[in-house]
Amino acid sequence: MNIYQPHLMRIVEITDETVDTRTLKLEFKAPAMAREFQFCAGQFGEYSAFGEGESTFCIASSPTRQGYIECSFKSTGKVTQALRRLGVGDTVGFRGPYGNHFPIEEMKGHSVVFIAGGIGLAPVRCAIWNVLDLRDQYKDVTIVYGARTVGDLVYKRELEEWSRRADLRLCLAVDPGGETPHWKGEVARIPTAVEKAVTTAEDTYAVICGPPIMIKFTLPVLARLGFAPERIYTTLENRMKCGLGKCGRCNIGATYVCKDGPVFTAAEMGRMPQEF
């Protein structure tokens, strides 16, 4: 089969996370695909708005939940704006799953800290639900999530749900100036929130995703806490087109983000040329 040909998906649910961020819940039109499709947390796909083009997003839902996938995106360009014009029942194309994945298996028996900023929660969310759906196979679970303002927080329904669970520690934060009068979470940037919420690196993995500047200032905090660079995982988003290693666009030095990534450890990132 032509590797560039997408599967057809039906939009079954639309959620507006923020003013410009939307989540689509998609089901495969072909019953066989709907039954058989599998993926791992961290993998991504190429989503088509037919007539406008394809765009790269991670699969934001967990592989433990069969029968559908979700993606979340900001409407910044031609394709994402076209995806935003689609409604429930409309058709979207999907190619994937591509890339590598978070070490869900390797993390079993250990503690996990999830750190995300803004829409960076989307690529981490698949791993969070994957872990929570297998909760007894992991030790402590901590989630530190923040955004510039309350309005920028995504997956608000799930943040609610997570805040009520006794088996995880949730720390929500907004930047100074981003709080509302009723805000009950922290008022701090992510690096500071992490310092407060995370007390130990012992036997713990960190999964982090967010704007480059957030990552830049959070990594030293994690280093001070004692996290080894091999145990800090992040996901990179370079400009991708084919998603399968042929179009030559996404490489950082000798690393192809679509094949060797998009999930990388901080150690691997340190070895890459700083060209991203």
Binding site: M1, N2, I3, Y4, Q5, P6, L8, R10, K29, S48, A49, F50, G51, E52, G53, E54, T76, G77, T80, D90, T91, G93, E237, N238, R239, K241, C242, L244, G245, K246, C247, G248, R249, N251, I252, G253, A254, Y256, K259, P273, E275, F276
Partner: protein, 351 residues
């Protein structure tokens, strides 16, 4: 390797027996140039002329090709597949640098996901190479480990001898091509004549550029931030003409186009890492901001990244990039400079 003799008449008959034959043909706009184009008879082909302006790449990865077409209906979207089987064709008098390039690009096209559009055309094509006689000072095939007589990528390789050609049969496809024609056993004289011709051809290019040394790919990777990259590409316009004419450049873009309000196609088009927007992200951030970074990527991809991944240099030394560059960038000169730095063992702190 079986060696046969093909007279001019034998070859003419072979051309006549095939539906689609592509060969170098004199260009209409400039008689000094040739282009690979379909021919009807052997007499249409231009011999001993300049290396064709474009490589063979476009017969396997066209400048634009449709990946699928779609139609919006009330029920959703219908996708119409494109055929991946191609019409059989013969490429005659392919330059060895162009033939070898196809095998080099095969590696990425088969990397975990097999590109059926590329391989459909590859499988349907038989390549008859010809000992190169059009080399100039921009050629550097021998520096890459190839040469004007390289059989790499050809199914049959022809060397001109008296009365016709010595034909080396290289692959089963080549054997099948010659099975139908009256090729005879080559005489000892023809074999000797061919060997002399090959030696003479090799001598013409072997001093054009220093051979790529072992460890060069690793040196390039280690010296990603070397100051030499900052001034290497000052005269480069970032136009991407080099990528267009290059037999191994294969980077592409994927776009959708409307034919009407509810029908359209998805295409893949040639693209080049030399253009500013190649890595431009929707946020406006560009990991390769300037031409020095973009030119570095070109060299790194061809001489370090591809070798690391696939064990092949993504270049066959055809020299087209040098001939076409309006800014005067010269790859043998650039490689020579980098190889000299690598040999001196100069690292990041070097001048």
């Amino acid at each position: 390797m079986t060696q046969r003799f093909l007279s001019h008449a034998d070859l003419a008959a072979l051309v006549a027996a095939h539906r689609r034959v592509i060969a170098p043909v004199r260009a209409k706009d400039d008689a000094r140039q040739t282009d690979y184009l379909p021919i009807r008879a052997l007499a249409d082909a231009a011999l001993g002329a300049a290396l064709p302006r474009r490589s063979l790449k476009e017969f396997f990865l066209p400048p634009t090709e449709v990946l699928l077409s779609y139609r919006q209906t009330k029920e959703g979207v219908e996708i119409k597949e494109v055929p991946t089987q191609a019409q059989p064709q013969v490429i005659l008098f392919a330059s060895p640098c162009d033939a070898a390039a196809l095998e080099v690009v095969d590696k990425v096209m088969d990397w975990e996901y097999r590109d059926e559009l590329w391989f459909g055309r590859r499988e349907a094509t038989t390549i008859v190479g010809l000992l190169c006689s059009s080399m100039d000072s921009s050629c550097f095939c021998s520096a890459i480990g190839l040469g004007p007589d390289s059989p790499r990528g050809s199914d049959v390789l022809l060397t001109p001898v008296e009365g016709g050609y010595l034909a080396q049969v290289i692959t089963p496809k080549g054997e099948a091509l010659l099975a139908h024609c009256a090729a005879r056993e080559a005489s000892a004289a023809a074999v000797a004549q061919a060997e002399t011709a090959r030696q003479q051809a090799r001598k013409k290019v072997e001093n054009n550029a220093p051979a790529i040394p072992d460890g060069f790919a690793a040196w390039l990777e280690e010296n990603f931030d070397h100051p030499v990259w900052r001034t290497m590409a000052l005269r480069c316009h970032g136009c991407g003409a080099c990528a267009g004419v290059c037999p191994t450049c294969h980077c592409f873009d994927i776009v959708d186009e409307h034919d009407s309000s509810d029908e359209g196609v998805r295409r893949r088009n040639w693209d080049s890492c030399q253009t500013a927007k190649f890595t431009l992200q929707a946020s406006g951030h560009n990991p390769r901001q300037g031409q020095s970074e973009r030119f570095r990527q070109r060299i790194q991809h061809k001489f370090s990244i591809y070798p690391k991944r696939f064990g092949e240099i993504l270049c066959t030394g055809c020299g087209r990039c040098c001939r076409v560059c309006a800014g005067g960038m010269d790859l043998p000169e650039i490689l020579g400079g980098l190889i000299a730095l690598a040999k001196k063992g100069q690292g990041e702190s070097g001048q």
